[in-house]
């Protein structure tokens, strides 16, 4: 059973009105457990909408989405999803550790286990020393690491990330990418990652999915066969540059059409 399976998935906003928009159309995609899939495409190609369809934040207009063999709604209620957005969206009145504990509190985990789990997650993102800080005392990159710790706190089987590093500077961004690879190696989580950075997509992924706009659909899937484990040296690898070119050409074909 694949971790994620989409069959003919489409999404129409404002159907029947003069503002009708076909955001996603006829998407077929199958993701195996432990894969890291990046979805890349120009603005307005429906990549965020695709992520929201998978995460049951909006229902599809056509086709079926299946997560671990379940409907997205069932998967959400079973807490199969961890979500990270471009803004960290930490609750400003809670300290860092309490932010990580939030989903565990909602699950009804008892206090001792909760704080143990939060401490472990903060260790994973290397923010142990900041457990008692408030979010505003942290840099943007650190806030985003807290958001990742929070998303992983209840051990979801799929991590959905919508341009999580989009607001960070280039250096922080590369460091966060390495962090994310390390975290994934440790947890084995399946990741669906929306981005519009080509190097980011290539560096992180096992496969890169290229989407085109109007209507948003998959035009190409590029297998990323970079040697494992990946490190900063990977960014200098000959194969890395070839794959960048492949993805770039795939995107250019989209823009020309």
């Amino acid at each position: 059973m694949s971790a994620l399976s989409l069959r003919g998935v489409g999404k129409v906003f404002n159907p029947g009105s003069d503002q009708e928009v076909q955001a996603v159309h006829g998407v077929d995609l199958s993701v195996e457990r432990g894969e890291f899939i990046s979805v890349i495409g120009p603005s307005g190609c429906g990549k965020s909408t695709l992520l929201r369809l998978i995460g049951d934040l909006t229902p599809p207009s056509s086709g079926t989405v299946s997560v671990n063999g379940k409907t997205p709604a069932r998967a959400r209620l079973d807490r199969d999803y961890g979500m990270v957005f471009q803004s960290a969206t930490l609750l400003e009145w809670r300290r860092v550790a309490a932010n990580v504990e939030l989903p565990l509190e909602i699950m009804g985990m008892d206090a001792a286990e909760r704080s143990r789990q939060a401490a472990a997650m903060l260790g994973l993102v290397q923010l142990d020393r900041f457990a008692n800080h408030y979010p505003w005392q942290l840099s943007g990159g650190m806030q985003q690491r807290v958001a990742i710790a929070r998303a992983l706190a209840f051990k979801p089987s799929i991590l959905l990330m919508d341009e999580p590093f989009g607001a960070l500077d280039e250096m922080t961004r590369e460091r966060m990418q390495s962090e994310l690879l390390r975290i994934r190696a440790e947890t084995g989580t399946t990741v669906v990652f929306v981005t519009h950075s080509i190097p980011e997509a290539v560096f992180l992924s096992t496969r890169v999915v290229i989407m085109s706009p109007r209507p948003g659909t998959i035009t190409e899937v590029v297998d990323i066969d970079l040697p494992e484990p990946r490190s900063d040296d990977t960014r200098e690898d000959q194969r890395f540059f070839e794959l960048l070119t492949d993805v770039r050409e795939g995107l250019r074909a989209v823009e020309d059409s």
Binding site: G55, R76, M83, L91, W93, E105
Partner: protein
């Protein structure tokens, strides 16, 4: 200089300016015979002792007996103020609770908001002077203690700002925060208590300050049709009737009534300081709108 010292100093400075303006105007009117200097145009307010007593006469009146051989006016007024404040406090608590409840109801149900909101707004356009006697008569049939009836009149004025700002505060979290809660499969109650209510607290306190002052106005006005002899309402009415004979007594009651209001708001400010860290405090509602709007823009960008 510490911020508190600076605040006290600016308060005293402004007080001094206000007193100087009052006395200056009075001095000018006395000197010119009641006209603007160099013109024949009369001053809007007469400056004789019957219309505008000296500020120090007001203070002196507070320290003199209220009536011949009786207690000091200050004592009489403070006792009346405490009596009124009891109704106001209960009205404030009742009104705030009802306002908060309405805010929660409205955020939960668009239907309730659409149906009830016009009535809530209309309730505040009806003069409290008309509502108070009705409530007093109705409650009188129920054999309720009269100061409780006064508290209801007070609550009638207090609930409105709390309802409006609670609703606004409950709606303040970003869409992404709500989506996160959705991804955790949180129940509506969990979303309310873990996300919406904490987010609403900075919006709630400015409303509670308004409710605190409104509850005192409500209590003073409510005391009149309830014919309560012991509160500020009756004292103000009596001194107003005797205004031309002893205007300083009415001004003294206004002074005491405003002290009660300031004290009440002070308690709310203290609670805010304890409950809300400085980074989350909103000084006024305009700032609240600006700050949240700015954040929303960041997220959209």
């Amino acid at each position: 200089m510490s911020p508190n010292a600076r605040r006290l100093l600016s308060f005293l400075g402004i007080l001094a300016v206000l007193i100087a303006m009052w006395e200056g105007y009075k001095w000018m009117g006395t000197a010119t015979g009641g006209v603007w200097p160099g013109t024949g145009i009369g001053l809007p307010v007469r400056t004789n002792e019957r219309s505008m007593p000296h500020t120090w006469d007001v203070v002196i009146a507070l320290l003199r007996p209220a009536r011949r051989g009786g207690e000091m006016l200050l004592l009489v007024l403070v006792r009346a103020a405490l009596f009124t404040w009891r109704s106001a406090l209960l009205g404030f608590v009742l009104g705030s609770a009802v306002g908060f409840g309405l805010g929660v109801l409205f955020v939960r149900s668009a239907l309730a908001e659409r149906g009830l909101m016009p009535h809530v707004v209309a309730s505040q356009t009806v003069p409290i002077l008309a509502i108070a006697p009705i409530l007093v008569v109705w409650a009188g049939r129920l054999n309720v203690t009269r100061w409780l009836v006064v508290a209801v009149v007070s609550a009638y004025l207090a609930f409105f700002p709390v309802a409006i700002n609670t609703l606004r505060g409950l709606r303040s979290p970003d869409a992404t925060a709500s989506e996160l809660m959705r991804s955790y499969a949180a129940t509506p109650n969990q979303v309310l208590w873990k996300l919406q209510v904490p987010a609403a607290l900075p919006y709630l306190f400015p409303a509670l300050k308004i409710a605190a002052t409104a509850s005192i106005i409500g209590a003073i006005v409510g005391e009149l049709p309830a014919s309560m002899p012991d509160g500020l309402g009756r004292a103000i009415l009596n001194f107003a009737a005797a205004f031309s004979a002893a205007p300083e007594k009415l001004f003294a009651s206004i002074l005491v009534a405003s002290m009660v209001g300031i004290g009440f708001v002070g308690v709310v400010v203290l609670a805010e300081r304890i409950l809300i860290p400085p980074s989350r405090r909103l000084e006024d509602l305009g700032e609240a709108a600006g700050q949240r709007g700015g954040r929303l823009k960041e997220v959209v960008a």
